[in-house]
Symmetry: C2
Subunit: 541 residues, 2 copies
Amino acid sequence: MHGSIMDYPLTLPHFLERAGRLFGPVEIVSRLPDRSLHRYTYADFYRRSRRLASALQAMGLNKGDRVGTLQWNHYAHLECYFGIPVSGGVLHTLNLRLDPSDLAYIVNHAQDRFIIVDDVLLPLFQQIQDRVQVEKVFVVPLTGAPVTGMASYEELLEEGSGDFAYPQLQETDALGMCYTSGTTGRPKGVVYSHRSQILHSLVECLPDVLNFSQSDTVMPVVPMFHANAWGVPFAATLAGSRQVFPGPHMDPVSLLELLQGERVTFTGGVPTVWMGLLEELKAHPERWKLEPGMRMVVGGSAVPEQMIRDFDRFHLEVYQAWGMTETSPLGTFSKPKCYQAGLSTDELYCFRAKQGLPAPLIEIRTVNEQGVADEDGETMGELQTRGAWVVSAYYRPEGPVDNWTPDGWFRTGDVATIDPEGFLQITDRTKDLIKSGGEWISSVDLENALMAHPSVAEAAVVAIPHPKWLERPLAVVVLRAGQRVGVEELNAFLAERFAKWWLPDRYEFVDQLPRTSTGKFKKTALRERFATPGEGGADEP
Amino acid sequence: MHGSIMDYPLTLPHFLERAGRLFGPVEIVSRLPDRSLHRYTYADFYRRSRRLASALQAMGLNKGDRVGTLQWNHYAHLECYFGIPVSGGVLHTLNLRLDPSDLAYIVNHAQDRFIIVDDVLLPLFQQIQDRVQVEKVFVVPLTGAPVTGMASYEELLEEGSGDFAYPQLQETDALGMCYTSGTTGRPKGVVYSHRSQILHSLVECLPDVLNFSQSDTVMPVVPMFHANAWGVPFAATLAGSRQVFPGPHMDPVSLLELLQGERVTFTGGVPTVWMGLLEELKAHPERWKLEPGMRMVVGGSAVPEQMIRDFDRFHLEVYQAWGMTETSPLGTFSKPKCYQAGLSTDELYCFRAKQGLPAPLIEIRTVNEQGVADEDGETMGELQTRGAWVVSAYYRPEGPVDNWTPDGWFRTGDVATIDPEGFLQITDRTKDLIKSGGEWISSVDLENALMAHPSVAEAAVVAIPHPKWLERPLAVVVLRAGQRVGVEELNAFLAERFAKWWLPDRYEFVDQLPRTSTGKFKKTALRERFATPGEGGADEP
């Protein structure tokens, strides 16, 4: 017996129509390359997104054709987020921080038919132009400087028609694709469906997740070329929130100016962005007046508990989240439960520093050699997930993949614990875990502990080979300006929290840490640089 | 090209598992027939719902079998809400306010295999027992009095197993069914799917809709036998909200005691319930201390603007909603938009007194003889809707149905306007609309205006036949205790807002208005009673 309910596919035109009909006067603000602010409304966004869809169809776009975007976070990228999928095309966001050879590989692997590129990113695009097969390139004239020899995005829009009719879309049709920026092997493609993005948006908006409403002003600092800016532009448009985009100006002072000037109530990004912001807030506390209670979602890597405490002093609420390109990306979100209100401040920070509870329609488990691990907050295992927006395959994979279990769960490559309350805590990447004498040491736990030391600005811990213990931890530390601290003091600091055999055998002090294109510490580079066993290698860890 | 996303069906076991895993200590409170409070937790609810599912399967329940419930709002009914669908069965809620012959018809028409009935409702059930074909009846022992000759719900649960495995469910599988309580013809059955209820729950929880979170204490006053209590028990369980159920005690003082004692933050019901509550609050303002900002959702019929203003004085926030059994039932929800904050108080009340904006995944339009009506806030038309939880057919209809348009929209039978901001306003039921000399007069508008008069407690306006104008309005009025008011004064009061030809020709003053099983004015009865044209019928309306 089936329900007698209308067959109503979950597709993006519904969101666009709703936004255009109900939220017309709501503002969308974008920082342009010259630092000026571009302002328009949902009504403009609606009209232009539909013109884009119409123009792409007039160019001969077929359902399923990929359209690449090489753009910063701004209004035109938002138009692409909606205009490309509602035309039947597939939004393929290109990560402008990738190495040009990877970028060219991705464009060709996805078989992008058109590319829409910011004028200020043309120097990057020109590095790959001769290596990619693309039918046509459209340039978004953000600076107003004339573009010669290439088609203009604005002229493309003028060819669109206002009375565009959406193509028939199934909810399983592709909406967009992203490539992972993994440090091993070639980038791998992930294809999202209309259904997965609609469900993802609904859940992100829930009160105990991102809590997006019409009352919000939402600014994604996480790039729109990175896992759909965590889905924030889709979810904010569903909610009818006011939207603010930082464009290419991602330095702390530019971001703070925008957060303050536009009275932003929600923002999201990776920890390194907020580290810089926090330093500026601490240095000039009298200069900045942000909205009290502004929510800051942090993902991409774990945030040190100390950072949550520091932002609390400025009445800014940090929330951890965990996700991956392969999970659209919302997996978990960390907000203490209502009934935990009676816990001590320290206990609450402990929960807030975890990666949190699985979102509705997402399941998580940890698996180790003994099978599914106990959810005791201590037993580590590989984090596996399944759910309504978790990828089931890579796009045209090169070579064999082992990312799915026989019973259909996605293997994340993260090592984690789950506690009795259901909070996930990532303890490491499987490849970053330090296997010392048959025991596991979490590099992330050591890093977070080191970064809580007042003299330490940043710290990365990596495994280096050891003749007896196979691997031992090495800490690479960036000190705060003007600070000095010895190895003994750091190890004494760590010994308060960890067993002796967890303490790093060796410390290296550097001026800065190498980073991946998404701002994470590039541990492969550190391992290569410091691979030779240190002279002080402990015999009894 | 399709998205490469896991095939993850939207089914109720996910919600139940999530609630059991994450919200175990959260409380569920039920008022029992003896007025005492039954308290247990989500952990108990989870365990018992699964035992119910397991026991039903052990009884031989097959996928799609209907299980009827004849119950008030309480914990055992919540267990049925989840336990029956996750066992593969179909939850069929029986409206205990129906006439026994309709009730017997419904049980037989749905082919209910089992029925679970409150002990306090056995006298009602015994009126239909000989007329229905049911395999087995289980009695919920709410009073503790021994039940003889019938199986006990508690003994049924004891036969269930803790290690129950859910059956394979598709998202289109039937989850539950309700029969409409329409005043014309036989009740008609509506079958919901797992998918439709999951989507409905997600949208109900959104911040700009019911805004359910872990911080809420939710009390559905709307009966669980009426359109799934508007989906509130499903949505509250998704959110992990604390839940409170009033049991059979629906009088204003009992409800207020529960709202106050359990610190309820959200409640929902039909206007007549809130009218009684308001009278008690006004009579004894010092007696009650409800949670400031408690949300009260009102549906089923339009709420007079005056009632919203009155509750505001008690810091209680009234929200209008519109929906039907055929729409699961959430259709629209009325909350002024953020950018309307600059409107005057009177203008804001005007929007709050409308039925509101369509929910995400719901579309609305109004259609009259000229086609789709302008959304100008004035042009009336029949309200039509489509969306992710709108019914596409009745269950085994008797005779032809004309409730769907050729292009697939559901014809609601309501007459409405939609304004430029997108707010729906129901002006009437098509069958209650008064057609006077080729023009339409809204009975609902006249009723709301009359109920704003300080001497009027309640008012219903119906069409009575007229030799010249075909139909003319008759107002049936219940005065407040001790109040007197003349026809001239009421018409002068109405003349401030309406054209002269809208004013009722005739008034009848009565002690109370007849009501349907869901608390709406029973206009058919009024029309029959007052059908003879009044002597004062106006010649020039």
